[in-house]
Subunit: 323 residues, 2 copies
């Protein structure tokens, strides 16, 4: 069985097209180029894990379907908006094999499209009729952007697990956390349940990003859609490299990358092979599995229904996909 | 008496520093470079008309002072965020005589700072505890950004009053409208009063932008902080030029600017002199005064207190400043 046919996907398969339709709605109120941009961004696909998380949480706790669709659309729109500006900043030309907006449009049009999508995400979120949801959205965007600014001003040669965890929280887990939290708020869950679901989203998001970072070492270029080891090429030390460094503190290639030769392709190639040949990948995956286990523990107090089961499967899926 | 000492400024003079302090607050939650950016942006001053509008409206209708300060800070933050991306897109190096962020920082840092300020504006707006206020913020940002995208894709050689009014609504009046509307919502005004104050903000914003566009013809370079006629240089036909065109439909310089020679400095110089020497400036100002009169009419049903009087003065001030 391919992982993409997991039960949790079946449960929301009928709803994701509704989420995408909501994201495309209200085109009469904006320039046709913006509609084209939204269509283009949606065409690049993706697993829609974040809106799925929102939908499953909202359905587990029982809520208005229409509001849940709107909120899921808001989450995916916020995610999409951050990607538009990310790709512009990184000068990325492809995402999931499809040209980025900035590859086709001027920087001006790309900046403005991202801005519009941020605003549209907030407008969609307002359909949930909750100031708290909207505030959580705003704070999540602050966390994400602040994380990226930290990256811009980071000093080379410093790597620590603490920095790594802080970075992947800002980059990924913060949005997973709000996706689940907002779903719970929509379901009028009590404070404890809201906190538990936020924790679930957080842990799941951390696991997701760790696996992403592992795949950057272990996957094939074709599948990844970018060169293997591209994090190291950009001078970014992710968990597998950190685990390897802990096991091999004297490794001279790592020292070179940390001190002045960041991104050197030849050294990167050697380090990628060394990391893959060591226990570092397995150590990183063990971390990811620990996050998944904590996520699943956070579900314990939730109503025991098919949606809770699906959330548990979703967490499990994150550490088996493409490995 | 200098216009800047008008009574309405006295009334809020004690509060604007509180608004600015609120804009600077919570620096522990973000990168020090963001605090520097916010300080820099606030140092460039400005008349703070938008937060003044919010504060006067909220006080006129009677509301929680602390929430009014937060909402005024949110309005000015939203305005500031749009300027950061505007200046980046235009490649502007100075604003109000002070270097723009993009003149000092990389495009990446400038894009991210703008994004952070958008999110911070939404977080500040959430202090008003009103989904409707937050939705109005989001929709205003969509209007502003959509207006800028229209400008990017506009076809040359087409000018009409209708386009002009639509453009200055998106660019300026939409934010003035929400500044007053949000103040009224905070004051728990009835639907009619909220609509009247939104109308007040709208009319005042239109008048403000028309006067700005007149100053681009009539002011001196020193005072303006940019070359006279800079709109025409950028191929932008504002109300004074449109009035002149209506009075002189056969003018060959205007035809040249509209057809292929947009921004030609020599022709722009001749057109600026022609517009100033015609009745076009007076015609444009008469329009601005009509907007002010309609704004003042919108105040008729408001509580008759010193704040209403101040709002009326603020509207009046817009058409006499710097002329």
């Amino acid at each position: 069985m391919k992982p993409t046919t997991a039960t949790f996907f079946d449960l929301v398969r009928s709803q994701i097209p509704l989420v995408e339709a909501r994201m495309r709605s209200a085109p009469d109120r904006h320039h046709p180029q913006l509609s084209l941009a939204i269509d283009h961004l949606l065409a690049s696909g993706g697993k829609r894990l974040r809106p799925t998380l929102t939908l499953l949480t909202a359905r587990m706790l029982g809520t208005d379907e229409d509001k849940a669709i709107g909120l899921a659309a808001a989450i995916e729109m916020l995610h999409t908006a951050t990607l538009v500006h990310d790709d512009l900043i990184d000068g990325a030309l492809l995402r999931r094999g499809i040209p980025t907006l900035n590859a086709q449009w001027s920087p001006a049009a790309t900046v403005l499209t991202g801005d519009f999508l941020f605003a549209r995400a907030a407008e969609l979120a307002s359909q949930a009729d909750s100031v708290r949801v909207m505030r959580a959205f705003a704070q999540t965007l602050m966390t994400i952007v602040n994380g990226e600014i930290n990256q811009l001003f980071v000093s080379r040669g410093q790597v620590s697990r603490e920095d790594y965890y802080r970075r992947i929280y800002a980059k990924t887990a913060s949005l997973f956390a709000v996706a689940a939290e907002a779903g719970a708020l929509l379901g009028h869950a009590g404070e404890e349940a809201v906190a538990a679901m936020r924790r679930f989203g957080h842990e799941v998001g951390m696991a997701f990003q760790i696996v992403d970072d592992v795949l950057d070492f272990t996957s094939e270029e074709m599948r990844l859609g970018k060169p293997v080891g591209s994090d190291l090429r950009q001078g970014l030390f992710t968990l597998p490299a950190l685990c390897y460094l802990e096991q091999n503190p004297e490794d001279r290639d790592i020292s070179s990358l940390l001190n002045g030769r960041a991104g050197d392709p030849e050294i990167v190639g050697r380090v990628v092979r060394a990391v893959k040949g060591s226990g570092a990948v397995e150590a990183a995956l063990a971390e990811a599995r620990a996050y998944v286990a904590r996520a699943q523990a956070a579900l314990a107090s939730m109503p025991d229904n098919v949606y809770r089961q699906s959330l548990s499967e979703l967490a499990e899926y994150l550490v088996i996909r493409n490995l």
